[in-house]
């Protein structure tokens, strides 16, 4: 290992990065106190979804693409219906659009709560996992699990189950819940508002590392805080139709990873809760911005460690939004509009819990898919995570012991809540010091 005379060489090997959705590996080579190589490797066996979709009917797409990710199946369903309905020239109407927001709010609440409490927070309180943390912080953990449960309940209301829900179809929903069910859940959501507020304050009070980094934030843009569809914008002046995505964002492959890297004009960029808050604070209701104003964080933020607080704020927002929309709930005569397929290419986008999720489908006159392309948020954040790690590790101190370095890397990576299942997967950390 070490050639102590000229260089110091240490190798650190950590088999699997824990507490990310899916698994990945990180390779770090430090030479003479400088980072020589840093690679976030995602090598989940590719599941080749784009190919399965070829030859399937448009009607099957929502059920099939859900299986890309168990943590954000709704996101895949929403980008898919957005793409197909755009192509077919269908407007499913306000009831469907509202209920899609409600369903999506459920997924944000579920996914963000899972991330904050089970995956990220144990880091900041010095525990290996939530089971250990729950022994000393039972109330915070229970509160988080309760919120996660409410997110799941929202998905069940419109989807029958929270993982791979079965309610979504092109044109709308298979089923509309009755008013009594909605009222029951509405009551629970209202009761949870103070808990969600306390949870936001709790995350904002955690002592987070100070970082200032420069990166473009990218998200969808619609009249409301973005969920389904709209234009794609950045805080550096980009504003494009979703059909122009492929002209601006280029994906490429690197030998160390099965996830493709996406770059904007050749540069890393950020998608996800922080990018959304950085871009769209002005689209939040007053209740949410008041809470944000009372926190010791200024938005837009350039500190990736604020990602966890951004998630907490979005939980609070999603609760408010679901309450607003369900408060006006009326059961429609029919929860979908009829669909006639059309040949052509459809583009769709939506805001998955982890950020922009872009889909493209080529469809023939029978409504069969002839080609598909899916760009998930984690492959978009992959280059940004590597850029962040380079800066963060230098700030943290490359001379720190291996264990501390590894822990810090994991913490930095978890800020992005990478869903490696989506981007395909495995974190192994190897450090070479030369």
């Amino acid at each position: 290992m070490a050639d102590e005379t000229q260089q110091r060489s240490v190798e650190l090997h950590v088999p699997v990065l824990t507490r990310v959705e899916g698994e990945g590996a990180l390779h770090l080579r430090i030479r003479d106190g400088q980072i020589e190589q840093l690679q976030l490797a995602i090598f989940e066996p590719p599941r080749l979804f784009e190919k399965f979709l070829e030859g399937r009917s448009y009607e099957e797409v929502p059920d099939l693409v859900a299986r890309i990710c168990g943590i954000c199946p709704v996101a895949y369903q929403m980008s898919a219906v957005d793409a197909l309905e755009s192509l077919f020239g269908i407007d499913p109407g306000p009831w469907v659009q509202d209920m899609r927001r409600v369903l999506y709010c459920g997924e944000w609440i579920e996914s963000h709560s899972l991330h904050i409490h089970l995956l990220a927070a144990p880091d900041f309180f010095g525990y290996d996992n939530v089971m250990a943390m729950a022994k000393d912080h039972p109330d915070e953990v229970r509160r988080g699990m309760h919120l996660q449960g409410l997110g799941n309940a929202l998905i069940r209301l419109l989807g029958a189950r929270s993982v791979h829900p079965v309610g979504v179809r092109v044109g709308g929903f298979h089923h509309a819940p009755d008013e009594r069910e909605v009222d029951n859940l509405l009551r629970q959501l209202r009761d949870a508002l103070p808990q969600a507020e306390a949870m936001v304050r709790w995350t904002a009070a955690i002592d987070l590392p100070e970082r200032t980094q420069s990166f473009p934030s990218v998200a969808c843009q619609s009249d409301d805080y973005p969920l389904v569809g709209g234009r794609i914008v950045s805080d550096r002046g980009l504003s494009i139709d979703k059909s122009a995505f492929e002209q601006q964002f280029a994906e490429h492959q690197e030998p160390h990873s099965t996830a493709l890297y996406s770059l904007l004009d050749g540069q890393p960029y950020l998608v996800g809760p922080m990018a959304r808050l950085n871009l769209h604070r002005d689209r939040l209701p007053a209740a949410v911005t008041h809470l944000m104003d009372s926190l010791p964080i200024d938005w837009p933020s350039a500190n990736p460690f604020h990602g966890m607080v951004a998630r907490a704020i979005e939980i609070y927002y999603a609760l408010h939004e679901a309450i607003r929309l369900l408060g006006a709930y009326r059961r429609p005569a029919q929860p979908f509009v009829p669909v006639t397929p059309k040949a052509g290419t459809g583009f769709g986008c939506s805001e998955a819990p982890r950020g922009l999720l872009w889909h493209r489908y080529d469809v023939d006159a029978q409504g069969l898919i002839t080609a598909a392309r899916i760009v998930p948020p984690t492959s978009q954040n992959q280059a940004r995570i590597e850029a962040d790690l380079r800066e963060s590790l230098t700030d943290f101190g490359l001379d720190q012991p291996d264990d501390a370095l590894r822990q810090h890397c994991e913490q930095v990576i978890r800020n992005y809540d990478p869903c490696i299942s989506c981007a395909t997967h495995f974190l192994r950390l190897t450090t070479e010091r030369l």
Binding site: E60, C69, V166, S421
Partner: protein, 270 residues
Amino acid sequence: MTESAAKPRVAVHKFSSCDGCQLAFLNLGETLLQIAELVDIVHFAEAGPLDPEAAVDIAFVEGSISTPDEVERIQRVRANSRFLVSIGACATAGGIQSLRNLAEDNQWLGQVYARPDYIATLDKVTPIAGQVKVDLELWGCPVNSRQIVSAIRALLFGVVPVTEQDKVCLECKRQQRVCVLVAQGTPCMGPVTRTGCGALCPSFGRDCYGCYGPAENPNTQALARRFEGLGLAPDAIARRFHAITSGAPAFHEAGLQQSDLKRQEKDHGG
């Protein structure tokens, strides 16, 4: 409560999958904390505990086997586990990714990745039981928390859990649902699909799409004829069987028969 040394040791392993079945644990809330009191969760990477090589009493395995590395890993999991439970359609039937086994050639990787040589995969995706002995299979895409908790409970009492074999139709009738096959003529897979989901799709007024895999003795031919009567073309019928659980033998064959029919039609039809 018994002390830690006497607690059963449990591991949760992930192979090629979407992580959705692990959520059957992570969505348990309070119950997860209770389970963590009753058993020692020694390996569950997504939840934190990491010790993939630990010897355990019960190993839950999510995902299918699709790389050479996974073949080796599942052998070690088997060697280290007293009782191995495969959870979900990926683990029990290969899952949606085994659709790739049906592709005529192996060009798919090259069509998604510019450099397929960077990626090591097996020619065929297999379920866990295609590689090692499995003691219990819990079907579903995803499995639900009820299936997981009742399996753990039974195993803690030292009995082998009973699994569902009945058809979704039975559950649907128990709930007195309107039959979507009869009333709306939608191609419901309920007559051949294993129950366990609670007949969720028919309860939402739509057709079951078979994510719990084939029930015991499914009459797939009769159902295919029924679908034909509804006006479905052979390839549309094939797609019903070749979806989430295309790797399960009964659905695999039923789908292939339809694809053959389609081929014959093409040959004769000119």
